[in-house]
Symmetry: C3
Subunit: 355 residues, 3 copies
């Protein structure tokens, strides 16, 4: 495998398209893999995803409105149901059979709306990522957000697979001592669907932010546990427990715990929707704790956005140019192998590559 920065799309996979709560009101227009899509919830509450282009004169359906029988085009009033079938053309009783728009398989689960961008016949709900923490708001209260980032989606995976960036990109926010991070014990394990790495920092002083957030004082055993799951999600568990309490053997005991969900859904080759949620596993009955954690982590996402976008601009000047691999790239390299396996094994992608 040549080490380059940008990857094409793996079509036969589930992508995070929206948060469930986004579909409560007006239709939502969003481009995924260069395809404009309209998302809405039909009269039965079922979420639907249609091509965001009326087959009549091309107007975006997302400019229309949701009505009893589906979504009504805002130009001439054609109505399409959640399967993309035209159910009404004003002024006529005959609806020609070709009056339809493409629909996409969706799965709604755990506050996520997942979309299948490839061959619908291969859409398997069992392949959807499980993130049970969204189902346990009492145990894991959380907040969600989304940014548009102007870079190839794999820049986000790179970013998270090498936490040595914390001391540089986030120097002014969460920062941390770069040499301590680099020296920490780190275990990288390839998985069937990606790669997982765990880094432990044992018997170290509790960082000020943990003291403040969870009142965790004294020395602690800290960990970063991140799992990349193809095509573009990362499940993160970060936490700390007082030293001497057997953190490694009983990691779930009270302490400082956060669960972060990251997903990089490609908008185009060079842009992606960065969905993220943050859950706090401490002071779980205080909404203020969730809010404080969100406010602390929010600026770090902006720092990542900035570095990924300037990185993208440089790489675009010569996308084929080889990059230099350093030891810190171990997890990143496994992640790249995993996405490459998915892309190469993806019939939709292969046929388009053969064109």
């Amino acid at each position: 495998m040549v080490n380059k920065a940008f990857e094409p799309f793996a079509r036969n996979a589930w992508y995070l398209a929206a948060w469930s709560e986004e579909l409560e009101g007006s239709p939502v227009g969003r481009t995924i893999m260069n395809e404009p899509i309209v998302f809405f919830r039909d009269a039965n509450g079922r979420p639907a995803a249609l091509e965001d282009r009326c087959c009549h004169r091309g107007a975006p359906l997302s400019q229309g409105r949701v009505v009893e029988s589906g979504i009504e085009c805002g130009y001439h009033g054609l109505i399409f149901d959640g399967y993309g079938i035209c159910v009404e053309i004003p002024g006529t009783n005959k609806v020609p059979p070709q009056t339809m728009v493409r629909s996409y398989p969706l799965v709604e689960r755990q506050e996520f709306i997942w979309i299948w961008m490839g061959d619908p016949g291969q859409a398997d709900e069992n392949m959807v990522i499980d993130f049970p923490f969204h189902d346990q708001p009492d145990k894991w209260p959380h907040r969600k957000d989304m940014f548009l980032i102007k870079s190839n989606y794999m820049m986000m995976i790179d970013n998270l697979m090498d936490l040595s960036h914390l001391g540089y990109v986030h120097r002014k926010t969460i920062g941390g001592n770069p040499s301590a991070h680099v020296a920490a014990e780190m275990e990288v394990t390839p998985t069937e669907t990606g790669v997982r790495f765990v880094r432990w920092m044992l018997d170290a002083p509790s960082p000020p932010s943990y003291v403040k957030a969870a009142n965790l004082r004294g020395n602690v055993d800290r960990w970063w546990d991140l799992e990349y799951v193809v095509p573009c999600s990362v499940l993160q568990w970060t936490g700390a427990i007082n030293t001497g309490k057997g953190a490694k053997e009983n990691q779930g005991q009270p302490g400082f715990h956060t669960r972060v969900f990251h997903s990089a859904t490609p908008e185009t080759e060079n842009t992606f929707h960065y969905f993220w949620s943050i859950s706090n596993g401490f002071r779980t009955d205080e909404p203020k704790a969730t809010e404080e954690l969100y406010k602390e982590i929010y600026p770090t996402f902006l720092e990542d956005k900035e570095i990924m976008e300037v990185q993208q601009a440089r790489l675009e000047l010569d996308p084929e140019r080889e990059l230099v691999v350093i030891p810190a790239d171990k997890a990143l390299t496994h992640a790249r192998r995993a996405i490459r396996r998915l892309i190469d094994g993806d019939p939709a992608e292969q046929s388009s590559a053969a064109e």
Copy 2:
């Protein structure tokens, strides 16, 4: 004919370039069919249109100023007369014969400046559209405006050829009951230079806006009479007369009358200048009536601009993709045939297509 959205330019035709009153002051720079053009009125009051690029170092002449003998380039002072001939080069008495810029045939009439974009030898003043209402400010007081729209010019023709859009695009402004519109009697007549359609709605309550504008109360016979004239103008007569007064036989009698002129002059393949004027045929001695009508209709042009621009964005993703025809497209289909005849019969267009 394949039903697609975008049309190329028909060169051998008159296009609305400017309102007469625009040429009273500084030179006006405007791009038409990708050609930058400067418009000005010479010392004799004659309007002129020249290529907006000095032949010396390429500066736009529209950045210069109108002087006694023509238009003076704002970079080094060369002066060109209304025919594009250089009549002065500072510092020399010799003007080389190639020192000239292209000029365009113009016709000024009825407050319009029409330009011929094709072979000057074929420019025939008799082909200019007649719109006598601008000549009768007492009988048809009016206001004019112009917008730049980011879509192919034929999107405007489509828009006007299918008034079923009124109930959707203009739901929040002039709106109207979509089903009443769709049910109204409609006659479509192809013409030599386009298509005309007339829609009558008989014995219906006078709409609130007509009551307010013209104090027209009770039931009325209403009509929409729109004529498309190639390449890109639409002449509209909308009105209403109290039921029982023989509206159809004597349509010119007092009532609610408006004349709207629309013209979509291509700036580029994907943008056009939308010129429009609105004349009121009621309360003609009250300037306030004209102003009120203008203020009521103005927002509807912004609504059309918005829908045409998002439509354009969608269609550009795959301009060759076929669109679905519905019964409401009858006038639109005749309009498309008419512009296609003009384009196909246009030698300038044919030779460029053969390149």
Copy 3:
């Protein structure tokens, strides 16, 4: 030689990259000839220029910071010295030999940082332009500035080689009587590295701006002395001395004197960095005089920026189209021949043209 507007880059030449004082603080990112470059001063005060793209993951080094041993990448902390050699990779003691970025030859002299964009083996310091006035702040106090102009760099040379533009572009600022300028005596002399022209206007009233700036009253002998030096600098000496004092024979005597330095460093084919400095040779012990002169000339550079940018927009529509030569273009024509000689004799350019 065909008379066209745009020229490609001459690579084997020195270009003005920055003012010395710009490198006192944070690293400076600047694109030259499409190549993103980071400029910084190392711990020894030596200026350095490196490719502004980390070889690891492509992040711009200009987003990092200057540290003791070089410049530190702001993403993962790699450090490169002023020669582009990686001297530190966090977390490892081994630095693979390919871990390096391109460095560029620089010369720092007379408040300029000059960069060599071609074959480093041909970089000859003796070819750097000499502008001794920056070394004499007592005799020639000065101010400097820089603009980004959206045009091909040769538009600036054209602009300065034909001062007949003063009466048109600068009508509202320094302006002047166009016919007087055109009538003035003008001597054009090709040089080995460009062209020089001198224009004398003898026994003319001192212009109001000279009276105000240098208290120079009565009739004066005025001159404009401009020398173009390939690839893209112009050295200007403008001044006036009271008539009868033998200005031509002893031009250095007290009077109104200004030295202007202009350099147009290509950012891309269609944009350039306009570096300029202005020195006053009168009231040299009054900082206020320098400030006043700067404030007077500053708006004229904005006027030049505007005309060069609209000119560029027009010329881009058809860059191959021939321009018409007029008598005022004599110096411009010699300048174009000089840059063409440099480009044609430039092996780097020839090989890229042959690709």
